[in-house]
């Protein structure tokens, strides 16, 4: 191991700007940091903080219109800034990368085995003859099961987690000294995230790699990094040991960021910095004795959804099959998205559905919202069987406005050609067509205020609004028709953590003030804990567990639930500290 005192990577006053229509934008504005050999440094920041841009600029991977304005980058003492030869030598061999969206980061028309071989050969670590064998070894090292079989597979045939392992294998091929991981687990399931990060951690410990972990997830950084640098607006606002930054920071932004990260044991209001809590504090005394009407608002009985996806066969192929030929045909594929799920909701209840991708939670939400027809079972809302009306004609039913949805993609769920005002106005127009323009306007402004949206923003188009503002338009749109049941489909998963804190508190306040009943769907059990009274855990279309939130957290009865709970980051639980 080299002299611990000399930094492996030293960045001084780095500035990067991009050319956009109308001038230049400073993405990175005077960043300085250093990493010692074998050390893990986490760079934490929200979207737009410049953390990824900074990392890419270190080895000249910026997109076309980016430019390094000033600063020095020294790796092992050699200056990389402005020196193409040094950069070329360092890429792969000194500094290696792994990226977000692993499947997109691999060449789609080349097998994963061949790509690892390419990485090996580039590093000069083997010739064409050996590289296959060594590539296989690498794939096994990153824990890809049945590596020999998977060697010739293509990226689209592998899961996201496996693609990420392949990328790790490629990164390690050249035995680099520094590994830069840019949001390596974003988009992967919570359980997969854990496993990938553990693998990464083990491998880098074994090889003595230094790691630069770039993430928006404070919990992830807390768990795997010994030091943390917090970035905001292109600058580093604070650097220090993990413990100091997370618990004893004096910087306002860091405090806000840490507070907003949902953790076990914290209350919803604590996600916000103390100065901002007053606005959302109304009605926090939970009124346990509030009378609930005896009849449930929503009763779902044994609901199932089966998708039949037959390959689009031509007439000819179908005829061929009937004649007895079997070449090139397969029977229709059945996908059981949801199987025999039942639940009842009382008025005023806050219900959560949690599950990973493929669990069927989204399908459930669409069926309850009557946007999708169920294959079996009954759905009753306020006593009447709403399942009887097919989803295609439900839009015109009188019940439509009583069940509303807030969708996951804040931008995608808004019509690009409607202003915020028009977007909110549309459902109101459909459900109460006799309102005068003035009355309508009043309702829209009220809904906007309830959702926390400044009415001045109502004349803007979606692309002119920030992510949080877009989410609020979606909420206002759902609220304007005065629904009784609100279905929130991952309402904050696309938002920054500090924005999420505000939006969640807003939703909680609304629920108390308006007496809403809602179903919150999320992959994040922690968000559910903060926002719901009861939760249903789903996996592969079935209900794994259904209970109060308190019971689920204190005494989960199913191992899968336990897995999900364990995956929640605990900022005080750092793998780095355990290692010491």
């Amino acid at each position: 191991m080299t002299d611990q005192g000399v930094p492996l990577l030293e960045v001084k006053d780095l500035a990067v700007s991009f050319e956009v229509y109308g001038g230049r934008v400073n993405a990175v504005d005077g960043v300085s940091l250093s990493i010692k050999p074998g050390e893990t440094l986490g760079i934490v920041g929200e979207s737009g903080s410049g953390k990824s841009v900074m990392a890419y600029s270190l080895v000249g991977l910026l997109a076309g219109n980016g430019r390094i304005d000033r600063g020095s980058v020294r790796f092992e003492g050699r200056e990389l800034q402005g020196n193409r030869r040094n950069v070329a030598e360092v890429r792969g061999r000194g500094i290696a990368f792994i990226f977000q969206n692993p499947r997109a980061a691999l060449n789609p028309i080349r097998s994963v085995g061949d790509q690892v071989r390419d990485a090996l050969e580039t590093a000069g670590r083997s010739k064409r003859r050996d590289s296959a064998r060594r590539a296989l070894e690498l794939l096994e090292q990153v824990r890809i099961e049945r590596a020999r079989e998977r060697f010739g597979a293509f990226p689209h045939e592998l899961s996201g987690g496996m693609c990420q392992r392949v990328l790790i294998a490629m990164a390690l091929a050249a035995r680099p000294k520094l590994l830069i991981a840019d949001e390596p687990t974003t988009g992967l399931d919570v359980t997969t995230q854990r496993v990938i990060m553990d693998t990464l951690y083990e491998l880098s410990a074994k090889e003595g790699l230094a790691t630069l972990l770039i993430t928006h997830d404070v919990g992830l950084a807390a768990r795997y990094c010994r030091r943390i640098a917090v970035m905001c607006g292109g600058k580093v606002v604070e650097t220090g040991s993990t413990r100091n930054v997370l618990e004893r920071s004096e910087n306002a932004y860091t405090q806000r960021l840490v507070a907003a990260t949902p953790q076990v044991g914290r209350a919803l209001i604590e996600l916000l910095p103390p100065a901002e809590r007053a606005a959302f504090a109304a009605g926090t005394e939970r009124n346990e004795t509030r009378s609930r009407s005896i009849a449930p608002l929503l009763a779902v009985q044994d609901i199932s959804k089966t998708f039949e996806s037959s390959r689009s066969e031509g007439l000819f192929a179908r005829a061929f099959r009937r004649l007895g030929g079997t070449a090139g045909t397969e029977s229709a594929i059945r996908h059981y998205a949801v199987r025999n799920v039942s639940l009842t909701l009382a008025r005023g209840e806050r219900f959560g559905i949690v599950g990973e991708s493929g669990s069927g939670k989204t399908t459930m939400s669409r069926m309850i919202a009557r946007l999708l027809d169920h294959t079996e079972g009954r759905i009753a809302f306020d006593g009447c069987d709403i399942g009887a009306t097919p989803s295609a004609s439900f839009a015109r039913s009188a019940v439509r406005h009583r069940i509303q949805v807030v969708f996951q993609d804040p931008l995608g769920s808004l019509n690009p050609r409607f202003t915020a005002y028009e977007a909110i106005c549309n459902p109101l127009r459909r459900s109460e067509s006799t309102l005068s323009t003035n009355d309508r306007q009043k309702r829209i402004v009220t809904a906007a205020r309830q959702a926390g949206l400044d009415p001045a923003l109502l004349s803007r188009f979606p692309h002119q609004l920030s992510g949080g503002q877009q989410a609020r338009v979606g909420i206002a749109r759902a609220l304007v028709v005065k629904p009784e049941l609100l279905i929130l489909d991952e309402p904050t998963s696309a938002l920054d953590v500090s924005v999420q804190a505000v939006v969640l508190n807003q939703l909680a306040l609304l629920q108390r003030q308006l007496g809403l009943t809602y179903i919150l769907i999320s992959h994040d059990l922690n968000v559910i804990r903060l926002m719901c009274d009861r939760v249903m855990v789903m996996r592969s279309g079935r209900v794994v567990e259904l209970n109060d939130v308190k019971t689920i957290f204190s005494a989960p009865s199913h191992p899968y639930t336990r897995e999900l709970i364990d995956a929640i980051p605990d900022l005080s639980d750092s793998i780095m500290e355990k290692a010491q």
Binding site: G92, A96, N107, P108, I109, D118
Partner: protein, 343 residues
């Protein structure tokens, strides 16, 4: 992960998928020809001197007195066995006329496509690398200019410039100097036949005459090919996997050619299939302008002479050529891109 069976399955499925298309083509042509004015029986008559009796006999023999669906069935059977009727103008079977003249058109179209690709792909790559610069704009403008010219305008302008003003090319009549000794017909493709016979003088004469019409046909399709290359290249250059390749330290050739170009050329392949259709259509006009003895001029002359059997045969032939080319393109595409095989 066993890939070979995937490829064969795709191959088979693709070919099977093309068959209904061909049937549809036949039906459509049938309808089209029935709409054309003129007596169908006359198409199949033994010659231009057929008497009323003979025509009536032929009519019965051909089943033209039967109902439409039966006529259709008979028609489909005829064309699938290659019986396309007889031309009134030449007096020969349409199928043999087409067979005689097809190589000329094929040679022209093939050479034109080659020319088009050799211009559009490099230009597209340059435009992509220098996207937004004046070079990019200039290249795109020139391409658009080419596609805005009707085929006959392009042809006439080229003849005017190269033959009339500059005298660089021979007169635009026929495929080869009429006074030169032609090589024996082996493939029908003049250039190849000349090479096979070792007759270099004839080869250069044929090449000189092939050049202008091929260039004309190339100019009018450079734009779509070049645009697709450019767009595809731009998308690939900014893609995540190129970034990975660069981050891994791979060399210039590996990143931009092996990883980049191979991916970028895939959509271009599909575009070729589409562009061929336009070229085949323009064929008719080009062959008229350059007096090229191919199937296009054959069809046009027949149409103007109200001789419809050759027109029908020509339409069928062109549609089949298109289907074949697209099937080949699709199969080739599947060989390169594994994502397509599992649809």
């Amino acid at each position: 992960m066993i890939r070979n069976s995937d490829i064969w399955r795709f191959f088979l499925r693709r070919i099977l998928g093309a068959l209904p298309l061909l049937v549809g083509v036949g039906v459509f042509t049938f309808i089209l020809v029935r709409v054309l004015p003129g007596d169908p029986a006359a198409y199949y008559a033994t010659g231009p001197m057929a008497t009323q009796e003979e025509i009536a006999q032929v009519r019965i023999a051909l089943g033209l007195d039967q109902r439409l669906p039966e006529q259709l069935a008979r028609y489909l059977r005829d064309i699938s066995t290659g019986d396309l009727g007889r031309s009134l103008v030449t007096g020969q079977l349409v199928s043999s006329d087409l067979r005689e003249r097809f190589p000329a058109s094929f040679e022209l179209t093939f050479f034109a496509m080659l020319l088009a690709l050799s211009f559009s792909i490099p230009l597209g790559i340059v435009a992509a690398i220098r996207a937004g610069s004046w070079i990019d704009h200039a290249i795109r403008f020139v391409g658009t200019l080419g596609v805005s010219m009707p085929a006959f305008v392009a042809g006439i302008v080229l003849i005017f410039v190269f033959y009339f003003k500059l005298g660089l090319t021979p007169e635009p009549i026929d495929r080869i100097d009429p006074f030169m000794l032609k090589p024996p017909v082996v493939t029908g493709l003049l250039l190849i036949d000349c090479l096979l016979a070792g007759n270099l003088a004839a080869f250069s004469s044929a090449l000189a005459r092939l050049f202008l019409p091929a260039l004309t046909m190339a100019i009018i399709v450079i734009a779509p090919l070049m645009r697709m290359t450019r767009a595809s290249m731009i998308a690939v250059l900014s893609s995540d996997f190129i970034r990975t390749a660069r981050a891994t330290g791979m060399g210039w050739w590996k990143v931009y050619v092996s990883y980049g170009l191979r991916n970028a050329l895939l959509p271009v392949l599909t575009t070729i299939g589409l562009v061929v259709s336009y070229q085949l259509g323009a064929n008719v006009v080009i062959e008229k302008v350059f007096a090229w003895p191919g199937v296009g001029s054959y069809a046009l002359n027949s149409l103007l002479a109200a001789d419809y059997a050759p027109v029908q045969g020509y339409i069928l032939l062109m549609a089949c050529v298109y289907v074949v080319i697209n099937t080949v393109v699709d199969i080739f595409y599947a060989l390169v891109d594994p994502r397509v095989r599992i649809k």
